[in-house]
Amino acid sequence: MSQPILNLLNLNKSFGAVKATSDLSLTVMPGEIHALIGPNGAGKTTLIQQIYGAQKQDSGQISLNGSEITALSVPDRVKAGIGRSFQISNVLMDFTVMENGIIAEQARLGQSFRFLRPAFSDRQLIRGGKAILERVGLEKRAEQRVGDLAHGERRMLELALALATSPSLLLLDEPMAGAGPEDSQRMADIIEGLRGTVAILLIEHDMDAVFRLADRLTVMVEGAVIAAGTAAEISANEAVKLAYLGGEE
């Protein structure tokens, strides 16, 4: 068996008396889509935050591609291969779609610290920026200001920016939240198309999408894993049914 992309070992995190992450271990294998589900407040986003480096765990280890990243800052983890979309669209709102692509492209090339040539008219950057947008089919909206985009398109753009760094692990925090059925379908198609090229850890409340997309699922309740397995195993699991699927929601 090949080495996991992401390996979480005995992760703990508390906010005062609330245990947000409780002795949690989890692996994400290369190329798989791994869904993280659980009721609201289960600690899914907090877990993503710790993997991403925006919040520090109290104890435990995080390894990416076999090397420990526990001490790295967010930008360093991104350089090590983590891409991320956020629960609330996190794009550059004051710029056009193309300018978002260009800024991502120059960051990818490590050229952001140059002072002379204008960035937005640079042919090489425009070409690269366009390629970034094409991965999610947004190249036709290139001249649009992001503030004028529909919600679903903003989510696509965010996914494109997350993919721009060629990550080996993609953290997607509710990519379909708030999107209409059409946009959700498009997003699911795009994520489906990524299967095998990048490992994905997916938080999503749309269970149809989760069961369609996920190779494996991990179910979290109150910061702890209560079950893990394939879609079939999870839907047959009594504990999960009780706690989540058939339960309160």
């Binding site: 991104v78 709102m93 300018e99 960051a107 140059r114 002072f115 002379l116 204008p118 721009a164 760094t165």
Partner: protein, 341 residues
């Protein structure tokens, strides 16, 4: 050779894209001809003051307008630049080029230290820390009796090789060249990869982190560049004023710079210079105007200036430059007038 022609082509594009800025800078170049024939040499003095404050405001605008860092202590860098002349002369350093070099280096180092410490915070804390550093420096110079303390020290205009600054026109054009170079440099920086990254950090810092970039590096670099520009303005300011005292870095001047930027247009190249022109012209004319109507209140001209500033901020989001831009747009293209800005 091809490098130079490429540079000129880039500069040409930039100048075309920033007509207003270069119109203003060009205006300052020909202004002395006007004052000569109109026999109003006093106005050369006003123009120099405008150029100096405009230059400093352009420097501050890089962090305030483009980087979204509300620094409330940039007058300190003007002061450091000015004291580099005063203290330099005190120790026998009379060469003006050396003053400029010294002022820019010292301001760059101070910008690095203050930026490194202050940029760990944001929002109101950043504003307060930059103000605190500026106040610290203010009181440091107040307490330095050796250099005049509270009363300041008078300065001989420095030696700039063949350029005799006691010829008022030479000083005028030295300041003008500095202004044009600052305008040119900022024009390149703002449009460059670094510049758009700085603007993107203002827009959304966490997305820049998610692209694998460390925002602090960009913010500190921007802060240092703006400090160096204010230092240059300070060196020239001291030569213009022939005098330096802690007053030059009083916190109200930091506020003045911010007012100039907001009045002219935050995050625009021409805004700070246009703001400096309007601000200082109002400062000259409002007391006269008020004096004609109600002589007893002439010195309270701020009573008129305040509401004016509020009106510009309320009705012209984007300052005076924003007002001009929306006007141009709505006359040329009525449909886009509302969406644009």
């Amino acid at each position: 050779m091809s490098g130079l022609s490429q540079f000129l082509a880039l500069a040409g594009d930039g100048i075309k894209a920033n007509r207003l800025l270069w119109l203003l800078i060009g205006g300052f170049a020909v202004f002395p001809i006007f004052t000569h024939f109109a026999d109003l040499p006093f106005w050369n003095d006003v123009a120099m003051r405008i150029m100096l404050l405009g230059m400093a405001a352009m420097g501050l605008n890089l962090v305030l307008g483009y980087g979204g860092m509300v620094s409330f202590g940039h007058a300190a860098f003007i002061g450091i630049g000015a004291y580099c002349v005063g203290i330099g002369e005190f120790y026998g350093l009379t060469n003006g080029w050396a003053h400029i070099l010294l002022g820019m280096i010292v301001c760059g180092l101070m910008g690095l230290i203050i930026g490194y410490l202050a940029l760990r915070t944001s929002g109101i804390y950043f504003i307060m820390i930059t103000l605190a550093f500026a106040q610290m420096l203010f009181f440091l110079f107040v307490s330095l009796e050796q250099f005049g303390g509270d009363d300041g020290m008078s300065i001989d205009r420095a030696e700039f090789g063949l350029i005799d600054l006691y010829d008022p026109l030479r000083l005028y054009f030295l300041i003008w060249v500095a202004l044009a170079l600052v305008g040119l440099g900022l024009m390149f920086i703002v449009r460059s990869r670094f510049g758009v990254t700085l603007r993107a950090i203002k827009s959304n810092e966490s997305r820049i982190e998610a692209m694998g970039l460390e925002p602090l590096r960009f913010k500190i670099t921007g802060y240092v560049i703006s400090a160096v520009i204010c230092g240059l303005a300070g060196v020239l300011f001291a030569n213009w004023q022939e005098y330096v005292s802690p007053d030059i870095m009083h916190w109200t001047r930091s506020g003045e710079l911010m007012i100039i930027i907001i009045l002219g247009g935050l995050g625009t190249l021409a805004g700070p210079l246009l703001g400096a022109i309007v601000f200082l012209l109002l400062e000259e004319s409002l007391p006269m105007l008020l004096g004609a109507v109600a002589p007893a209140y002439a010195e309270n001209w701020m009573i008129l200036f305040g509401p004016l500033l509020i009106m510009v901020v309320l009705f012209g989001r984007g300052g005076l430059v924003g007002l001009i831009a929306t006007r141009n747009q709505s006359t040329s293209n009525q449909k886009r007038g509302k969406a644009g800005q």
